[in-house]
């Protein structure tokens, strides 16, 4: 249970306060309602590049990190297809430093060309380190444009290609900032050893003077219903053959999200799951395999992915996976369902141990439209029935809703 109180500034900034006096720390989480799905298709990877630029100095503060480190704090950020999220943890008595830093960069950046030049290089190295220079690192670069044809989830957050990052200009940076980095397009959570009234006072003091901007109205093309199976085969310099299979499923704003999430758990969460038991243990066809969901706000993907052992073909793997899918389509036992519900319950409770996680979960729930979702999720999960899981399996785990990627390990020369 995460308690919170909330208020909204005149400029539209939504603020949630979660008091926890057991810790000497405070967490400040600011979620900007912009992700890679909001990018121009010819300028992909920009939301993430922009996140890097947010650390390059703001209107009145030349260096973002140093003053925070000076008061014993640390920070980081991440960008996803849906959001850009910035967070700080610091000793609670130095809370005001976080307000000073975050409000200044919400007001305006320094737009220093050197910062863009360097961060462009850093992001390109990140692109290589995490996506190109790793076995299977490019899987999602290939899968996304195959699974999505219209919706901007069709490119990865890091970007479709390095060229897009190379081409970003300072003018793009400015436009992006003034379009999305607005108090009325942000959600702030302040958590930890803090006092609600004091947070309110500090928020009005530091964020109150920031003018609201023109509200961002998101209009993204919907992904048309998929009508035939898609398959791509790539030969790559990887050690083992691999298989990725995705199925379109409901987004986070749809109650049915929880059904599909539990379905993915039945298929492939943990060592007792159907996929693991059958494919890793019984047939020993796979070195590993799992099932999970992308968890995106708008309709996302249920994913099955694994690596094949030498000597087995993709054809054999496909047949086995199809057999397991048929099995869940015939029904899921109460016992099996209770198992995955218990796993989900456990994950939720464990995710609340860290103060910062509580802050992030609260911010994301608020973005989904109901901050209290963070406390209701457990009920929603418990309410799912075996019939619903079966119906979901029949609806989404069908060939015409599937996108498959086969990696073929290039034979060693």
């Amino acid at each position: 249970m995460i308690d919170y109180k909330a208020f909204t500034l005149q400029n539209g900034l939504q603020v949630f306060v979660h008091e926890d006096t057991a810790t000497p720390m405070a967490a400040v989480n600011i979620l900007y309602n912009v992700g890679s799905k909001d990018e121009d298709e010819h300028k992909t990877g920009f939301a993430h590049l922009f996140e890097h630029l947010m650390f390059g100095g703001s209107m009145n503060i030349g260096n973002y990190d140093e003053p925070l480190q000076r008061v014993g704090g640390e920070n980081n950020a991440f960008t996803s297809p849906d959001i850009t999220n910035y967070y700080i943890t610091l000793p609670a008595e130095n809370l005001e430093t976080a307000f000073w830093l975050e409000s200044d960069r919400m007001m305006s950046l320094s737009f220093d060309p050197k910062v863009l030049e360097v961060q462009r290089k850093v992001v390109i190295e990140e692109f290589k380190q995490r996506y190109l220079n790793q076995p299977y690192g490019d899987a999602w670069l290939k899968l996304r444009p195959l699974a999505y044809q219209k919706h901007p989830y069709r490119w990865a957050t890091i970007g479709r290609e390095i060229k897009h990052i190379e081409d970003a200009t300072l003018d793009d940076v400015r436009k992006f900032f003034f379009k999305y980095y607005l108090p009325n397009n942000a959600i702030m959570v302040v958590a930890g050893n803090v006092d609600f009234e004091e947070v309110k006072r500090l928020t009005e003091k530091w964020f109150g003077p920031i003018p609201a901007g023109k509200p961002y109205k998101r209009q993204l093309p919907a992904e048309p219903k998929q009508t035939s199976a898609r398959l791509e085969t790539v030969e790559a310099d990887v050690p083992l053959n691999a298989l990725y299979k995705t199925f379109h499923m409901p987004g986070r704003n749809d109650q049915r999200y929880y059904i599909a999430d539990l379905l993915s758990d039945v298929l492939g969460r943990g060592k007792s799951s159907m996929l693991y038991q059958r494919l890793v243990r019984d047939t020993q066809m796979f070195a590993d395999i799992s099932g999970y969901v992308t968890g995106s706000m708008e309709p996302g993907l249920l994913v099955i992915s694994g690596k094949l052992k030498p000597g087995f073909t993709h054809q054999q793997a496909e047949e086995e996976i199809a057999a397991i899918i048929s099995k869940v389509q015939e029904g899921v036992s109460e016992e099996e369902l209770q198992k995955v519900k218990n796993q989900a319950e456990s994950s939720l409770v464990f995710s609340e141990i860290e103060l910062l996680n509580r802050a992030m979960n609260l911010a994301f729930s608020a973005l989904l439209g109901d901050p209290d979702l963070v406390n209701k999720e457990a009920e929603y999960i418990q309410a799912v029935t075996a019939d619903e899981v079966q119906a979901m399996a029949r609806e989404i785990l069908v060939p015409e809703n599937s996108t498959t990627l086969h990696y073929i390990a290039k034979p060693k020369a």
Partner: protein, 422 residues
């Protein structure tokens, strides 16, 4: 008018609340260390033996002995164990380490009564089924194959091998090792080095009922105090440059450093200040120069990695292939600057406050508190270590930083491994 140019006033962290640790011994002698903290109804039970790969006669024994504990026990098959754990939303981790082996259970408190009987069986009656052993071996073989294609993994392995040579601290499992190890070796390791050697590190919401459960299920078990080796390990002392060319690499993985010491060394605390300055945080000199000035990398870090009977200093990064030599030269230059010029008082102040603040933040969860406690317990020192840590960080002078850089970080004593575009 609001002054946005000047930072608000701040306070230095002056007190650190350390974990309170209770100890007890179950009737048969098994030690239990208790960190009762946190608001969530969860528990982490670590079953730890003070023995690891260093006690092996055949490479891989401790790895498989730890992994095999949950592959069959008493009447339970591997699948049944997995089912019981998952059905209670519990999560198990195996940590076969160099010096210690740990089996960790994460569980909601309410499920403990159902899980402890299973754990008693796992710890005392593992059945080591051959079939499961072969599956694990084959899976491990595939994982090694995948790891061998990751430059960063290859670099980290070769680096430790160069530092410690034939000593276990320098050994890794390779595919051919898996062909040598047999089930009897695994069983032997369990009998010699694991059976009845477990201590319990318990963290989370601990009440009398939990303690009663432990007594009920583990109270009658005898305890062997396994101490393992305490001989200091100094490493090969060789300084070498190892290049491993990987065709088609877009980056080079660099690992550089040397054998130093662990938490029991008198210079440990102050050395961590030097390490933070060089590469231990986002504002470090290496991050500023190699990432923020030149954009050669996504990240560069340095660290002092403690082992039970040794410790090593490591600088690691993945950089643009063409800039490998530039990067190595710049690392050297940054170390030389720390040796020749006194660190700026402002920079030192920031580092100290950052270190103490993040240390305070690192005491945030019951599990993190238990991890801190393990550091002192397994090194035979007491909790004073952490108050001392904070005091010594604050006491570190600019001269100390210079002296430590000179004494310990002579670049000519480093071993360097580069994997990728050499």
């Amino acid at each position: 008018m609001l002054d946005r140019k000047s930072p608000p006033p701040y306070k230095k962290v002056d007190s650190i609340h350390l974990p309170e640790v209770a100890h007890l011994r179950l009737k048969g002698g098994m030690p239990v260390h208790i960190i009762d903290a946190g608001k969530q109804p969860v528990l982490r039970l670590e079953f730890i033996v003070k023995n690891g790969a260093v006690s092996e006669k055949v490479l891989g024994q401790s790895f498989f002995a730890t992994k095999m504990l949950t592959e069959g026990a008493g009447p339970y098959s591997s699948k049944e164990i997995a089912n019981i754990l998952d059905a209670h939303g519990a999560y198990v981790e195996h940590h076969p380490g160099l010096d210690y082996c740990t089996l960790t259970l994460y569980s909601l408190s309410k499920h403990l009564p159902s899980l402890l009987p299973l754990f008693r069986t796992i710890l005392t009656q593992p059945t080591f089924p051959e079939h499961e052993f072969n599956i694990l071996k084959d899976i491990k073989k595939q994982q090694i194959k995948v790891d061998e294609t990751k430059n960063a993994v290859v670099a980290a392995k070769r680096f430790r091998e160069a530092l410690y040579g034939e000593h276990t601290y320098g050994r890794h499992l390779y595919q051919e090792d898996l062909d040598r190890i047999a089930l009897q070796h695994v069983v032997q390791f369990y009998e010699d080095n694991i059976r009845n050697g477990f201590e319990i590190m318990l963290a989370g919401q601990v009440d009398q009922q939990v303690l009663d459960l432990l007594e009920e299920h583990f109270g009658d078990l005898p305890f062997r105090d396994l101490r393992g080796s305490t001989t200091s390990v100094t490493g090969t002392g060789e300084t070498s440059r190892i290049n491993i060319e990987k065709e088609g690499s877009l980056q080079s993985s660099i690992r550089q450093g040397k054998v130093l010491f662990n938490v029991t060394h008198p210079d440990f605390h102050k050395f961590t200040v030097l390490n933070t300055a060089l590469g231990g945080y986002f504002g470090s000199r290496l991050m500023k120069e190699i990432r923020e000035e030149r954009g050669y990398t996504y990240g560069i870090y340095s660290n002092l990695i403690p082992l039970k009977n040794s410790g090593y200093f490591l600088i690691g990064t993945d950089v643009i292939g063409e800039h490998t030599e530039d990067t190595l030269n710049e690392i050297k230059r940054q170390i030389q600057l720390l040796q020749s010029e006194t660190i700026d008082p402002e920079e030192l102040e920031t580092i100290k406050n950052y270190m103490v603040g993040t240390f305070l933040g690192s005491l945030n969860t019951p599990f993190a508190l238990a991890d801190k406690y393990k550091t002192v317990y397994f090194n035979g020192i007491d909790l004073e270590f952490f108050t001392d840590h904070v005091r010594q960080i604050y006491d570190t002078s600019a001269e100390d930083v210079k002296r430590l850089a000179t004494d310990y970080l002579d670049p000519d004593t480093f071993t360097t491994v580069v994997v990728g575009k050499v």
